[in-house]
């Protein structure tokens, strides 16, 4: 398998990472090197093997449906790039 420049651009867009023209060429060669390494695992016959999604096949624990955290909005918004009136500000998405 080999990624094309268009593949790299598509992946970068899916990942929401802007990639310049020169960078795309560099990523193409580095990512293809990594995929050559990954391709080694295709040689293994894994028919009938159950996928292991998590170390030790853990169960997800459920907690009681109760309030446990205090409201710390001001502390959390103190580290935000742009806030006003308790809201996070982003460019307008609905005209």
């Amino acid at each position: 398998m080999s990624l094309s420049i268009d593949d790299v651009r598509r992946i970068a867009h899916l990942a929401r990472i802007r990639v310049g023209e020169d960078e795309a060429v560099q990523y193409q060669s580095q990512l293809n090197g990594v995929f050559d390494l990954i391709a080694r695992m295709q040689a293994v016959d894994t028919a009938g093997v159950a996928p292991m999604a998590h170390a030790r096949d853990l169960f997800q624990r459920l907690r009681a449906d109760a309030v446990t955290e205090p409201n710390r909005r001001e502390a959390f918004q103190a580290v935000a790039p742009q806030v006003a009136g308790g809201f996070y500000l982003v460019p307008k998405v609905i005209e």
Partner: protein, 484 residues
């Protein structure tokens, strides 16, 4: 050069020979003198450290001290600590002062252990050399032209140079054990789920695990007593009885069955490392251990499976860095998509972006079965290999890393070459097992060599026993680099 362990510092505090303030002042002075050569710390805040030290001394005066109250420790900059800059080695979090404590930080605060500072690391823990840090590389105290390993390279270098008595680290594919090996210290990655991940900035959530880095196995046991414990805020934290990890330290090793995986002693292992590990095996025989050969036939595929699973999880975890709620936002943007794309392009470094893109691709439509599902099946086979081996032995032994510390820049432009420096450590994370590294020799250039112990699930106390008995019989862990 001081050889003082956590244990010795705790004894001196208990007997009133020193105070936490004195200890912290001493270590802060060592950091001030040693850190310019190492770049092991991203943040030092002497006032904050000394305030914590005064509180620890007050606790002791009020007869309210625990066993380690007043002993200082440094924390990898991946752990959120309230009021401390917490960067995770990234430009993305260059201005992030954490509004809360990670569970691990809370545990150390409850134990009364002052924080000496936040240590350097590969950006978002993605690397094996600490060269991907936005704050510049950390240098190996044994040779400043060489890397300390990574990603917990700042913690390892600081402990090796004795500018902190101990530090925390995290290990997703070897990030505690490989730098411990390359810097000549002792580090432990516990069984997955033993140490809470709450407030530990996530890289690959099914693999990440925090653990102690110190100069001795005994210190690691004392520190794991502080770090381990159930925490409801981490959905994968295990509900288990509290353990005393020091309980088996004095146990003799007679009859211990040590498994040697033949796959760990083949091509790719450097001569000096092989010789040092062989010598350690002879030492264990003298201590009464029995050597058995075991096989981990799928371990050779662990790097390939890991570089699907870890980037897949990272691409999801790192989607939270969007320039909206915290972290870096590009100064110049039009619409929302442009704001996301430019903030992430400018805030993340090259290795982080590569891994996010690998993960995005393997999870994308049409490729999921061929990559992600296949990697998860291999993960099962790798875990089954270990289960079979533990029917024949109590602990597995081998090298931690294929080579000693490499030169800065040597592997920086070749991601695949860098990834292969974790070839002996990655399978342990995939299986969720505990692993540790301890010093077992020096190579021809005087660089430390690490010995890896891999235990069965929840066998940390036994592994620490094995390492402690080895350290009672040898002095490799007491060797220190010159100049600090």
């Amino acid at each position: 050069m001081s050889q003082t362990t956590i244990k010795q510092l705790a004894d001196r505090l208990a007997s009133g020979k020193t105070s936490s303030v004195e200890l912290c002042q001493d270590y802060l002075a060592r950091i001030q003198a040693g850190n310019p050569k190492l770049n092991a710390f991203i943040t030092v805040d002497a006032e904050r450290t000394l305030a914590e030290a005064r509180a620890a001394d007050a606790r002791r005066a009020a007869n309210n001290a625990g066993p380690l109250t007043g002993v200082p420790i440094a924390h990898k900059d991946i752990f959120c600590a309230e009021g401390w800059l917490t960067t995770c080695g990234s430009k993305m979090l260059a201005n992030f002062v954490s509004p809360y404590d990670a569970h691990v930080i809370g545990q150390f605060k409850a134990a009364g252990m002052p924080c000496l500072g936040k240590t350097n690391m590969d950006e978002f823990a993605m690397g094996s050399s600490t060269e991907t840090s936005y704050y510049g590389p950390t240098r190996n105290p044994w040779d400043s032209a060489r890397v300390p390993g990574g990603s917990s390279g700042g913690s390892a270098a600081a402990v090796a140079a004795r500018i902190t008595p101990a530090a925390t680290g995290t290990d997703t594919g070897g990030s505690i054990r490989q730098p411990a090996a390359l810097c000549g210290i002792t580090g432990l990655k516990p069984t997955y789920g033993v140490v809470s991940r709450y407030g530990m900035i996530a890289f690959a959530s099914s693999l990440d695990q925090g653990g102690p880095m110190a100069t001795t196995a005994e210190d690691c046991a004392l520190l794991l007593n502080v770090m381990a414990g159930f925490d409801a805020r981490d959905s994968t934290s295990l509900e288990r009885e509290k353990e005393d990890y020091t309980r088996d330290l004095a146990r003799p090793l007679a009859g211990l069955r040590i498994g040697l995986p033949k796959e760990f002693f083949g091509a790719g292992l450097s001569g000096d490392t092989a010789i040092a590990v062989e010598a350690a095996i002879e030492q264990f025989k003298k201590l009464g251990a029995v050597i058995v050969e075991v096989s981990l036939p799928n371990s050779g595929l662990s790097v390939a499976a890991y570089y699907v699973i870890a980037p897949a999880e990272a691409s999801s975890n790192l989607s939270r860095f969007d320039g909206v709620r915290y972290g870096y936002r590009t100064p110049d943007y039009g619409d929302l998509t442009e704001m996301y794309e430019k903030s992430r392009a400018e805030g993340f470094g090259a290795e982080v972006k590569r891994r996010i893109m690998i993960g995005t691709y393997v999870l994308s439509h049409g490729y999921y079965d061929a990559y992600y599902l296949q990697a998860q099946k291999l993960r099962r086979l790798i875990a089954q290999d270990f289960a079979a081996a533990y029917r024949q032995c109590d602990v597995i032994l081998g090298p931690t890393a294929p080579t000693t510390a490499f030169k800065l820049g040597e592997k920086a432009d070749d991601p695949v070459e860098m990834y292969l420096s974790d070839i002996y450590t990655i399978a342990v994370n995939l299986a969720g097992l505990p692993g540790m590294s301890l010093p077992c020799g020096l190579d021809g250039q005087g660089l430390p060599i690490g010995l890896q112990l891999i235990g069965d699930y929840f066998s940390e106390a036994r592994m620490l026993n094995v390492a402690h008995q080895y350290q009672l019989a040898t002095d490799w862990h007491q060797r220190t680099p010159g100049g600090f």
